[in-house]
């Protein structure tokens, strides 16, 4: 996608998508044959598994690998388990993929009643036990921490990447559910004094007013809606003295939390901004676990060899390698790029043109950083070139004249440092 203007005296500006006054109606997609869910836990062959090929599951049932597991997924469909296999995600994340064969009783699928009973006593335990796989991927772990309690909950009504309108859509159309969700979050956090702020695009400040929390407008200039930029801007660096004192929830996650407690059912429908090759946008609603191919078929998009399917936005998303890949709880957008739109990275050295330095929102000296990273000097990069100040927005790589995959270098370096640190702690 070429976005450079003819004049180049100022760095290129990118703006977020803003939702129109009449949001599109969601296209509903139901998985045809199989759903795939990822449990965030490595599959250990020796362990005695609770779920095996052939096990029957009903919609809303919690699936855990072993009785000791802390992680789980909630099945969006009724059916039988087809396969349980190891899966390696981004940055070597070891997960387990569970494939469930859908049994077609669309009328009224058998629903597991465990959550309905638990929802009568709303609280952090219930939320952690049933809701962490909700569409929008709410992370309750920060709220559970007692040593350094969360002071601020930031509700992200603005989408953190370009082209995406999923959270804006929720803010615009599901004000009631967000309000329910905010109330539920208040109960979850108990009587603690937690400050809740909802960040929305400036044009939605009015629409978001009914949620019952402080609403603040976010500039539509990239990367101002990046969660860390919002936290820096609204909470301020002084409030960030404590690590993790801010918890982030997307507007979609908050709405689903509200829905879950109100109806006593775990909602599965994930809202996705679908962007076709021609840039046309649709809002798709599909259960978590639905393979991309079902969505492609429903919206009538064709994908050929060499095209790129992006989960997430164009700046920070992840490209997937199979059309069997399922919708995940945090898949806010699915973007299809034609082969001809792809500009590949190149194996060139940095020429020190400084474009990256001029666009970096946190003033990272990217030209210095990339020299350390290219040489594999990750510790030096962190000490001398502000590797840790990077908020991973991808802007530097977007403007790079040498087309260096800077963002990938940065992620790799952070990953390697994390592993080194973990190894040191293990040996200590």
């Amino acid at each position: 996608m070429i976005n450079r203007s003819f004049f180049g005296i100022a760095p290129p500006k990118l703006t977020y998508e803003t939702i129109s006054d009449e949001p599109p109606k969601p296209v509903s997609v139901f998985p045809k044959e199989k759903v795939t869910l990822f449990i965030n836990e490595p599959l250990e062959k020796a362990a005695k598994l609770l779920i095996q090929t052939g096990t029957r599951v009903s919609a809303g049932q919690k699936l855990q690998l072993t009785t000791d597991s802390k992680t789980y997924v909630v099945s969006p469909v009724s059916g039988s388990i087809d396969a349980v296999t190891p899966f390696t995600g981004v940055m070597e994340k070891q997960m387990t993929s569970v494939v469930i064969r859908v049994e077609k009783d669309e009328g009224d699928p058998e629903v597991d009643g465990a959550f309905e009973a638990a929802a009568k006593t709303p609280g952090l335990e219930t939320a952690r036990d049933f809701l962490s796989g909700l569409p929008g991927a709410p992370d309750f772990s920060a709220l559970a921490r007692s040593d350094d309690p969360v002071k601020t909950i930031l509700i992200m009504g603005a989408d953190n990447d370009l082209m995406t309108i999923t959270n804006q859509f929720v803010v615009r159309t599901e004000g009631g559910a967000i309000k329910d969700g905010v109330d539920a979050l208040r109960r979850i956090t108990g009587g603690r004094n937690v400050n809740m702020i909802m960040a929305v695009p400036s044009n939605l400040v009015q629409a978001a007013g009914a949620a019952g929390v402080a609403v603040k407008g976010v500039s539509n200039l990239f990367p101002h809606a990046n969660p860390e930029m919002i936290a820096l801007g609204f909470v301020g660096p002084e409030a960030l003295g404590h690590k993790d004192s801010v918890a982030f929830f997307t507007a979609e996650a908050v709405a689903r939390i509200g829905q879950a407690f109100k109806k006593g059912k775990v909602p599965f429908e994930k809202l996705i901004t679908f962007v076709g090759k021609d840039g046309s946008k649709k809002i798709v609603s599909a259960p978590v676990g639905t393979p991309v191919k079902d969505i492609l078929e429903k919206v009538g998009a064709t994908v050929k060899d060499g095209d790129r399917i992006i989960f997430g936005g164009p700046m920070t998303g992840v490209s997937i390698y199979s059309i069997d890949h399922p919708v995940e709880p945090d898949t806010d957008a699915i973007i299809i790029q034609d082969k001809s739109q792809i500009i590949p990275s190149e194996d060139l050295a940095c020429i020190n043109c400084g474009q990256c330095v001029r666009v970096c929102p946190t003033h990272v000296p990217v030209n210095v950083l990339i020299r350390y990273l290219d040489a594999g000097e990750y510790e030096q990069a962190a000490e001398q070139a502000e590797l840790d100040a990077c908020i991973e927005c991808g802007y530097c790589t977007y403007v790079c004249e040498s087309r260096i995959p800077i963002f990938q270098h940065i992620r790799l370096a952070k990953h390697a440092l994390k592993r080194m640190k973990a190894a040191e702690e293990n040996n200590a």
Partner: protein
């Protein structure tokens, strides 16, 4: 069932501005052509011979070094051609062929490739090459001596040399308008001020060079020359003269702005450029060399890594959400 479709998989971001290094170099070459065409009109076929030899030999040195060093061949990126072209623009139209070839050897091999190629050179290769040439064979690069056989319709003396040896009064023989229109002796591509300014404005507007460096370089020349002129108008020529003759314009637009040897942060760019301008006039007025641009740029490239440490403090990442 295995899925046979092969999707393109890569790391984010999935958009790019579409800019590239070679696009930039080809644009700079195109802009430099204005001055080259003027050089041809002024000095005839010998000018084209020098240009062609310089561009060609620079590309051959690049390809040869890449071959010997077992590096990927980079002559298609346009940088070697650009180095050859800019070097030729600094030379007199009748430079002997072996001087040109030596110059491009120094520029490509000693100025650029031995440091690791594109982006790794601490000095502008053209500036290194010209400095070595003028220190080694000053007679061939002396514009007055080299261009003695030409008949010009204007004052056939190199303005910088005239002022150096005859005092500020000599500057009165050159009008600023005349110098802008190229009515001065000099290198093939250094004389036509208007063409250089138009080209520079285009490069700045398109973002191919950084305006901070060009503007502060010229401002440095202007301010320093003005102060010298103020202190002793009989000895030192005025700022207008210094801006539009010698290598001032080509230095500010094509030489000082070379990416690898110049800073990237705002304040360092201003310091770098202004320092270059100041040093240029200091060398011209007080030094032994006729023109100071080349040595001034060498010195500012030397301080570039230190100056570029002046940068805004990074907004520290203090959160670490899961």
């Amino acid at each position: 069932m295995p899925n046979r479709m092969k999707l393109t998989v890569s790391h984010a971001p999935f958009w790019h501005t579409g800019s590239s290094t070679s696009v930039k170099y080809y644009h700079i070459i195109a802009v430099a052509m204005i001055s080259v065409i003027f050089g041809f009109l002024q000095y005839g076929i010998p000018a084209i011979a020098v240009i062609a030899l310089s561009v060609g030999s620079a590309m051959i040195w690049e390809a040869g070094f890449n071959y010997l060093a077992k590096r990927p061949n980079t002559i298609h990126d346009g940088n070697a051609a650009l180095i050859g072209l800019i070097l030729a623009m600094l030379l007199p139209a009748v430079t002997p062929w072996w001087v040109v070839i030596t110059g491009t050897f120094v520029a490509i091999v000693i100025g650029k490739q031995i440091y690791g190629g594109l982006g790794a050179n601490p000095f502008n290769p053209v500036v290194v090459a010209y400095a070595i040439l003028i220190l080694s064979w000053p007679v061939y690069l002396n514009y007055n001596a080299a261009l003695v056989d030409y008949v010009f319709s204007f004052n056939p003396v190199y303005p910088m040399a005239a002022v150096k040896f005859q005092g500020a009064a000599a500057a009165e023989n050159f009008s600023i308008i005349g110098m802008l229109m190229g009515q001065q002796v000099g290198g093939i591509g250094t004389g036509f001020g208007l063409g250089l300014i138009i080209g520079g404005a285009y490069l700045i507007a398109r973002g191919f060079i950084r305006w901070e460096i060009t503007v502060s370089f010229l401002a440095g020349i202007f301010a320093t020359a003005f102060l010298f002129n103020l202190s002793n108008p009989e000895l030192y020529a005025g700022p207008g003269f210094h801006l539009f003759t010698g290598m001032s314009l080509i230095g500010a637009i094509f030489l000082a702005t070379e990416d690898s040897s110049s800073p990237v942060n705002f304040i360092p760019m201003l310091i770098y450029g202004a320092l270059g301008g100041v040093l240029t006039v200091l060398i011209r007025n007080l030094g032994v060399h006729v023109d100071g641009v080349i040595f001034a740029i060498l010195i500012i490239s030397l301080v570039n890594p230190i100056v570029d440490k002046i940068r805004p403090k990074a907004k520290r990442r203090v959160m670490n959400y899961a």
